[in-house]
């Protein structure tokens, strides 16, 4: 079975199939961004994106993810280490205290902004409703997601312009359709 983790194709050994995916990512792939906090799907610290949708992986098995496109927090920054604008916004707004909830918050915020790049503060509040944070009171997390929204608006405009002439890569294409859907909804 294959997994696509942060744009890399990963061959899963048969022995790992029954493992929980949070353990597989953290122990076998050394991607320790997703945290295993509550272990029962209640807090959101283990959130990753599966095909651009947030997913809590502490209660799921590796075999449920065959062929899926997975994004963990390690895949957000550019290959040269430049932070993604949303990560930068978290830093700038001081949206991090202990940092335990942060990977899940960033990814949940990312998935949300891909769908809605012109959010109101109330919509952001609603979007991160299921992710628990003990330290920040959520205020600066909401500030950060709000601050990063213009980046997603620019990207959306860029993609719309790019999709006019029909020459673009498959990945860009699929992203453009997700964006277009988000805008319609």
């Amino acid at each position: 079975m294959k997994l696509f983790v942060n744009n890399k194709e990963i061959e899963v050994p048969a022995s790992a199939m029954e493992k929980r995916i949070v353990e597989f990512l953290r122990e076998d792939l050394d991607l320790t961004g997703a945290k295993n906090a509550c272990d029962i799907g209640a807090c959101g610290a283990c959130t990753i994106l599966v095909n651009d949708e947030p997913s809590r992986i502490c209660i799921k098995l590796v075999k449920d993810f065959g062929g899926q496109r997975i994004l963990t927090i390690e895949g957000m920054a550019a290959p040269d280490g430049t932070l993604h604008p949303l990560q930068q916004a978290f830093l700038d707004c001081g949206a991090i205290q202990c940092g335990y909830c942060t990977p899940g918050m960033v990814l949940t915020g990312h998935a949300f902004l891909l769908k809605n790049s012109h959010p109101t503060r109330d919509q952001i509040r609603q979007a991160i409703f299921k992710n628990l944070c003990r330290c920040t009171g959520y205020q600066q997390i909401i500030d950060a997601i709000e601050k990063a929204a213009p980046h997603y608006q620019r990207e959306e405009r860029g993609l719309q312009a790019a999709s006019a002439p029909e020459k673009q890569t498959a990945t860009k294409n699929s992203k453009a359709t997700t964006l277009a859907k988000g805008e319609a909804g």
Binding site: C38, G94, Q97, R121, F129, T136
Partner: protein
């Protein structure tokens, strides 16, 4: 040692039907001496307010017969983003003469005082005093003629 002064205020509504408390607005002013990293100071205060709101309204460890039954985040209810209002922080810098940078503490003071502010606001709304937390309110009695008339 310099004095550590702080003040928090909250605005809320209590539902007559269910007794549910909704926070509408919260403001905190803290004398931190010197805000070494202002964004982090703000974060500490927002976080403290959120914890304190949790203490006041829903955080509770249950241990019937001495056996703890609140073991994880599904039973220990901490505040979620939707439980909290937009919060405002006012940083006051009044340096502590005996501290090397002038800074005073902020972690603990921030999470002590929203709970009493909430208890006071509930008193203001319902006329009931609560001395233990979390505060549990049931359905509220219908207003008496005088209460209505005096408004």
């Amino acid at each position: 040692m310099g004095l550590l002064l702080c003040c928090q205020a909250v605005e809320l509504t209590v539902s007559r039907k269910s007794g549910k408390v909704k926070l509408l607005n919260a403001v905190a002013a803290h004398d931190v001496g010197c805000a070494v990293n202002p964004e982090m100071v703000r974060g500490q205060i927002y976080g403290g307010m959120a914890m304190s709101a949790g203490y006041a309204l829903h955080e509770e460890v249950k241990a019937p017969g001495g056996k703890m039954t609140t073991l994880n985040l599904n039973t220990y209810r901490i505040p979620r983003s939707m439980d909290l209002p937009e919060m405002k922080v006012i940083i006051v810098e009044n340096p502590d003469p005996v501290s090397p940078t002038g800074a005073k503490s902020i972690g603990e003071p921030a999470n002590e005082i929203l709970a009493p502010a909430i208890a006071n606001a509930i008193f203001n709304a319902t006329g009931q005093r609560h001395f233990s937390s979390p505060i549990k309110l049931g359905a509220q009695p219908e207003p008496t003629a005088c209460e209505e008339g005096c408004k």
